[in-house]
Amino acid sequence: MTNNKQDQYNSFYDFSSVIPSPHNDEKFILDIQGFEGPLDVLLSLARTQKVDLKQISILELVQQFLKFVEEIKIQKLEKAADYLVMAAWLAYLKSRLLLPDENSEEELSAEEMAARLTLQLQRLSAIRDSAATLMSRNQLKRDVFARGRPESVIISRNATFELSYYELIRAYADHKCRKSIADIRIHKREIYTLDQALERLQGLIGMALDWTDLFQFLPDSIMNEEMTRSVKASMFTASLEMARQGKAEIIQKQIFGPLYIRKRDRSD
């Protein structure tokens, strides 16, 4: 690394140079707010060379950019990042341009890199010019006007419904937005279903010979409190259902006492 490059490296990360100091105050401090990224800065710097973009001196441009980065008052680090990365890249390009060509097969030659940067600047410049040309065209509702009192004509056969692509997409996005707000998750509760209870009770009741406490029939492997409640409720409902169908009899001898159940045959 050359000394020069080392200096530049230091100045990039030495923030004392970007924090306003009494010395800096007298200097004209460029504001990066006005620029849209490093390429924008490079383009405006290239234009100050006042030559055809094809003949800009990349070396000089690099120098100017590095100077610019040193001088700017950087308020936001994330905004500065792009500039610093560009500065590092340009410093690298500059060193490659100054040093003899190493003939590396993998990398582009320095001249090639410079040419590409030039092309990119020219392309951005051309697009800027085109944008200006486009905007200076006579625009509808600004320079030229359609009929101010349109009368509805019969034509438009296949567009009975007015809906633009934008409105369509917008509607889906809005739907997603609303969904994301109203997205409430309720944990699925484990339950012992009535069907399960019925199946179990019908199977077991046939094996019992006499009145049996309903809760004797509860499944053995009850995992937790919540499940126990669900099991009891479902088994109780199942016993009522079986009684209703005439498949079982239920008896309760005292309030809150145990429920006894036994099988009942139709033939009884």
Binding site: R149, S152, I154, N158, I169, Y172, K176, S180, I181, A182
Partner: protein, 201 residues
Amino acid sequence: MEIIEQTRIIEALLFASDKPLSSVALADCLPEGAPIDQLLNDLQNHYQHRGVNLIKVAGKWMFQTAPDLAFLLRKEMDEERRLSRAAVETLTIIAYHQPVTRAEIEEIRGVSLSRGILDVLMEAEWVRPVGRRRTPGRPMTYGTSDHFLIHFGLNSIKDLPGLSELKAAGFLDNVNMSRLNLLDDVIPTEEQHELPISQEK
């Protein structure tokens, strides 16, 4: 300014205006002393036998379709109907989730689908039944039509933007993305057509 130029100005002003203009208002746009009444009369004569006439109503001037061609104009202005918000939302859900059943649309939207919405969408020829789901009840599934693709200038349903693309384009700015399950962000594919989407359940 020449007479021709002044006539052109009046012509343009009357054409672009959304209401009838008085000769005084027109004269304001012309050099002082322009023979405004003469110009208007000449213009009226010029258009007398054309498809559009210059007429004077309530002391003001306006262009209007020639009365004998009024049959060309639509009587009712409400021909270009607009879809309700619910209909537009339903349409997008059908587009993104097709083939989709009525029950699934209701589940996705979280409200029941009022009668007539599907009818309107089918009347617009944007939505069509595409088949029946192989589930109990064999419910009808809906999808979008070719007409839908043509209307919105799409080559295929796959061209609809996915969630991440909507986000990137600034459509979902107010959304906390962590709440949108991006893994669900399947860009609509035509392949979905062949698949029963029972896995969504």
